[in-house]
Symmetry: C2
Subunit: 446 residues, 2 copies
């Protein structure tokens, strides 16, 4: 029987951490708003912004990707993802979580996945070109607007190299594009050159992980995208509940809200105790920062990692200012387990025979209780195990939580007006027409 | 002529960002304390804590590592670093900065370097064992106390596997240890089994990057450790100056102090615009958190990365609360540069012909000016280029800045009392003798 991920927030409560935690009445009061918030969201369900809720039900896409995947497997060994921000972080979170750190060397299944184009650092491109056999390499170029500088310049560079390697005609098969289906530079080039353009999902990038942006890489790497979507569906369903106790994404949002508004805890840490969820925390970090950081409001998200950061950040979390709340993510069952070999050394003997799995869980528990004893609010999301199904739940859990938190804060979570200005400066400095004023303005500071 | 890294703090000032920036008089007033702070530090120069200032002058170690490196190169292809927190982050920062992301595949020079043991996640160990030829693999086990759980269990596991692969006698050569030279489990095992034990430097781990902990991996990977140390020496020298204008680490500390104490900016972001400095930011993050996060004080450090985080965190930095300051790190010259191929597409044509290098610098500049225009204080550390010499400067710059900031805040930057409690819980749950009380206490919450 498929289970639900569980959010345990006992150590977030005033009962455990005194004045730094939430009061039951505060949470209950917010719960009274849930019905009207759900109604408000329901009314807008046909808007592009909220169309991410339809993604788990897109069976057509699943079938298409299945067919595409067969073609990719036949022709290629590597898939390079070229995108920045949301166009990269979702796919990265899926691949690293399910395939681990050494997937490409281990060659478990599917294509080798590489990530490039999330920078314009020439060294990265140069290194990657050197280690890849371009004849065996396909590229997935993701850019919602089709004009974002970083993926565009990487794309142009890879395209040139691929054409040099296989010729203009064969190069067509090497590029798959995800961009909005209106006129834009990337889409126009794709059309002119005959690259497959899988239309970008109409909503914003940071809610696109379960669209083609995340599903194509997941499928190419050999993972079961149906299970990812099935997980998302379960959370979509519980998010329709107006009952506080049944709707864990709302509870999570409500506790983030109360920490920020009532107790000035302006920092929210996500700390998985699983090495392969590290990149998931960076996906969360973008979702939180870009969705909620506006109008001089915003909770600053931090991606941490257990047990690594016990030896880096925990000192600050335990004895620093009372300015943060922490959420752990725990996978209760690991695919593999190992045992610590026995040792004759008297002082280390107590470690012998323990399972690594158990040690990891003990490290988490000791950290969580220790924080609570020091009046540091922390909660935990439990995954029964780390697989496609529960990862799908996890993505959707945070997406819905971000939407709820935006409603509670009175913030539009779907825009990012703050970064437009610096884009115009860039266009100006790069000599793009129409941005002469911005060029003059910034040149004063060069 | 060797240059100095430069700290530009114009955009941190009230003149540029109004009430969110520092006033010249505030900085000048702190400058008056510099002489007495330097005297105080000078008086304690023989203490283990401050012995990190002697590390750049340790020529004996440089010679020893040169010889050791010849032996390593003759016998091994891979070096695995096993350590957690400070025992791992310094080496990681050096290797990733100088060798990049694909060093092991590119086989530029020296041994392939892998990082393990910064977790107890069984999957990581398991994967790593699968991809390594253990006969050709040496392990560098770093644990100051010699009893830290994570490196100890990884060490015991790797040791068993190596003995299985090459036999007990040959295994001796596969392990090099860095631990304090008093009695401790790791040191005792090393002595009994005949593993080379290079004594851990007497000070704390987070000031150990220029000791054997960072230098052995750097040297094994083929980098010039003399240049790393030469860079550190230059900053050591300028840190002895009592003149505010000559002592950039003190200026950096003073501006962090003023932001935190006078303007409640409790978050400090380090955002290199160089993909390969990403791990450097994580080294900084530990230095800042563990050194300064205590007594209910502490600035929360964030490791960010440009231009990646323009599409993830910048929205929050520009339009969120005025609760943070940002420091960019820029390498002015790259080892490699590439040019964007020309394109006929009208809207993307403006990108053609630009160097990637230039684009990266434009992205940084647009971000920095844009933040300033939105009254967000930000400063920049310029490196003439990214090599051993300037990286050595950068490490020492932040180490001295942390010491100065501790003096200004009245905090002992060299201890980490907050994490002791959770360690005791762990010992209790793992059945170590002497921790029965803690075991009982935490078992209430299982």
């Amino acid at each position: 029987m498929a289970k639900l991920i569980k959010y345990d927030y006992e150590f977030m409560s005033a009962g455990q951490v005194g004045s730094f935690g939430f009061k039951k009445q505060e949470l209950a009061d917010l719960g009274k708003k849930l019905q009207s918030i759900n109604q408000k969201i329901e009314k807008r369900k046909e808007s592009p912004d909220l169309s991410f809720r339809k993604l788990p039900y897109d069976n057509l896409l699943v079938n298409l990707l299945g067919k595409l995947n067969n073609i990719l497997k036949k022709n290629f060994k590597n898939l390079v993802i070229v995108g920045i921000g949301a166009s990269d972080l979702g796919a990265r979170a899926i691949i690293r979580t399910l395939a681990g750190r050494y997937n490409n060397q281990l060659k478990i299944k599917g294509l080798n996945i590489y990530f490039a184009g999330n920078t314009t650092d020439p060294q990265v491109l140069d290194d990657l070109i050197k280690i890849l056999d371009l004849k065996k390499t396909a590229f997935f170029i993701v850019s919602r607007s089709g004009s974002t500088i970083e993926p565009m310049v990487s794309f142009l560079y890879f395209r040139k190299k691929v054409i040099e390697a296989v010729g203009w005609q064969k190069a067509k098969k090497h590029f798959i594009i995800s961009t909005l289906p209106n006129n834009n530079p990337l889409g126009d080039i794709a059309e002119k050159e005959g690259y497959l353009n899988l239309a970008h999902y109409p909503g914003g990038g940071r809610y696109s992980v379960l669209s083609v942006n995340g599903l194509l890489p997941a499928s190419a790497a050999g993972f079961d995208i149906k299970k990812l979507l099935a997980g998302a569906k379960v959370i979509d369903k519980i998010s329709k509940s107006n009952n506080l106790n049944a709707n864990s994404p709302f509870v999570f949002a409500a506790l983030q809200y109360l920490a920020y508004k009532k107790r000035k805890q302006n920092i929210s840490v996500l700390m998985p105790y699983n090495y392969y969820l590290n990149e998931f925390a960076f996906w969360f970090r973008q979702l939180w920062a870009e969705s909620l950081g506006k109008d001089k409001l915003g909770i600053t998200p931090i991606a941490a990692l257990g047990p690594t950061d016990q030896h880096s950040q925990l000192q600050l979390y335990i004895e620093g200012p009372h300015d943060k709340i922490i959420t752990f993510v725990i996978a209760e069952k690991y695919k593999h387990d190992l045992r610590v070999p026995k040792t004759n050394n008297r002082e280390a003997a107590y470690l012998g025979g323990h399972s690594f799995n158990k040690i990891l869980n003990i490290e988490y528990k000791a950290t969580s209780v220790s924080l609570m004893k020091n009046k540091r609010p922390n909660g935990t999301i439990y995954l029964p195990e780390l697989n496609e199904y529960y990862l799908g739940q996890l993505f959707f859990f945070f997406e819905m939580a971000a939407v709820y938190l935006g409603e509670l804060l009175g913030i539009n979570v779907f825009d990012q007006p703050g970064v437009e200005h610096s884009k115009k400066y860039m266009y100006g400095l790069l000599g793009r027409k129409g941005f002469e004023k911005e060029a003059r303005e910034i040149k004063k500071y060069l």
